[in-house]
Symmetry: C2
Subunit: 351 residues, 2 copies
Amino acid sequence: MLFFWGLAMNVELSARSRQILEAIVEDYIATAEPVGSSAVARRHAMTLSSATVRNVMANLEEMGLLTSPHTSAGRIPTEKAYRFYVDSLVALRQVSRDEKRQIINHCRKAGAGLSDILKETSRTLSQLSNYMGIVVAPSFNSDVFRHIEFIRLGHRKILAILVSSNGAVQNRLIETEEDHDPEELVRMGNYLNGMMQGLTITQARERVLAEMKNEKTKYDHLMSRALRISEQAVTVDGDDVFVEGQARILDQPEFSDAARMKEIYEAFEKKGIILQLLSRCMSADGVQIYIGSETSLSRSAGVSLVTSRFVTSSNTVGMLGVIGPTRMGYSSVIPIVDYTARMISRLLSEA
Amino acid sequence: MLFFWGLAMNVELSARSRQILEAIVEDYIATAEPVGSSAVARRHAMTLSSATVRNVMANLEEMGLLTSPHTSAGRIPTEKAYRFYVDSLVALRQVSRDEKRQIINHCRKAGAGLSDILKETSRTLSQLSNYMGIVVAPSFNSDVFRHIEFIRLGHRKILAILVSSNGAVQNRLIETEEDHDPEELVRMGNYLNGMMQGLTITQARERVLAEMKNEKTKYDHLMSRALRISEQAVTVDGDDVFVEGQARILDQPEFSDAARMKEIYEAFEKKGIILQLLSRCMSADGVQIYIGSETSLSRSAGVSLVTSRFVTSSNTVGMLGVIGPTRMGYSSVIPIVDYTARMISRLLSEA
DNA sequence: GTTAGCACTCAAAGGTGTCGAGTGCTATTT
DNA sequence: AAATAGCACTCGACACCTTTGAGTGCTAAC
């Protein structure tokens, strides 16, 4: 639907109009100030006079691609214009050698744990883009079970450790109804490890629930206890989200006022919003771009989101991207996100 | 030294001056606007005229307790005034029944893991105080070792799981020089568990290093490998810090401008600063208060910090507190921090 | 179709004047 | 001697004005 718009406009615009729109968008991205007709004529060393540019701009405004904040200011691009720009105008920059180096180094240097890598990635994205970096860990639930283990911590207190084949680890403290001694726990572990081999965490959970209703296991003390405990262990709720570089967006002039800022920060404290937002881009391959209201992050905040998914060795998908103002340097952010996603995918597939 | 100042001033001020200073500080805390002499006379239904109050205020200014932002505005308290206020004026509010309920509920409802509890506590502090809540987990290194366990994840890849008696868990992915099969890992685990029983993590680490030099173990293949791996496992670097309610401080008028905000947020992205800051309050018991530059957080930012430490069953100490503007509602924040620290201590001691 | 010219608009910037909260000082009261 | 009333003074805040200049839309000429 969004893409359709882009194509539709693509057809309707003359080459010159497109060129001018591109100039305006890029100017505005660079300066954050309304762009006037003469600025366009000048900056682009075009063979056109400002008057001509004005006519074109009036056209573009009528088409809903530009607006003026007031009668005699320059014009600024609408969301529609950004959409069009991103779909068919933007000339993507190459990822520089230096940036590549940074991305790769950061990936490697992180402690080898999955969450360390992802956190570091988030930071790298933020540094390279100068906006906010965001990474959503592959959903633990859809990852493949590797190992479960119980450790007795005290009277009726057990620590359950659940490892997925990604190398992601979940710890859960469980209070049991009766006390279990270490040997019992080992046997439970063996039983469950056998049962869950090869399943995803979600499937494992279903399997546990099914087994609990099974007549055979119902009357086996050890098994039924093991199942009851493991039911808690395999119930993993939230996915991990790593957000870095929150301070950076304060550099952007459009976020200098406090009310606006607050909206964004509050959105981030409720991580649920982000997850909901990002689950959308899990399905499609390649870089996805959400502009302004398309993000449904907060109507008024004027933020955009450039994301891509990455895959792990066990074929679960995660999400990474950059959040910044609508007026974002798409030409460099898009390649950075793309490249980073590829690198992370490769790194995690090796493992 | 700071306390000495408080006492010194205590002596020098007449009862009336103190009363007026208190009124000014409290007014300023409530309104964030410079307080004028007539406001003091009026608000306090004092038997004094504004002219008299003026004289007293001139005195206080000379003593460095007040400043005027410009000739004909009211006066605002200096850091010194806050210090004095906190040391000897403030009338602490009782923690209300409702607040107590919230604190206790939040503690309990959290998933039983240590980090869940602390994160939730941080959020509670933020909610009750309307400032930023901060909790530093007890240093893992000084906690008592409980259990170590190795899980083979793949060729030459081991997951080490280290549990302390607090119930804190550390996972670490380790790449080994040779491949180890699961049975070998179990034996290594047994050996190390025996060796480290009763030691703190730091001691355990020293013990490992010592054993590695020991002639006897040097020539035992299993042991020497176990030691080499465990050396990595017991090397834990950073402590966990939980900061919640960052959006809340945007409500404070003094932080409405972006430059100021940025300073604070950047301080928080480098968690190191916080740790350094908080390590100071680990030693002393009871509520500690750091005002403005005393925090050494960022000279210009004008933030204060109210903290208290808490203890766990294994006698390690953590830190919790509230960060807000110097102009902070000390009378309610101090009791909240105090009460929360006590509750958390109790909760963690039970475990 | 392009451009030059011109009248018009409007925000931003700067200047002026008033208002009032607040001060310091001094003379007066208690 | 301490407290107060009175008064002149200061200075930011606000409202109001003008000027400036960037930018527009329109029209007539090329």
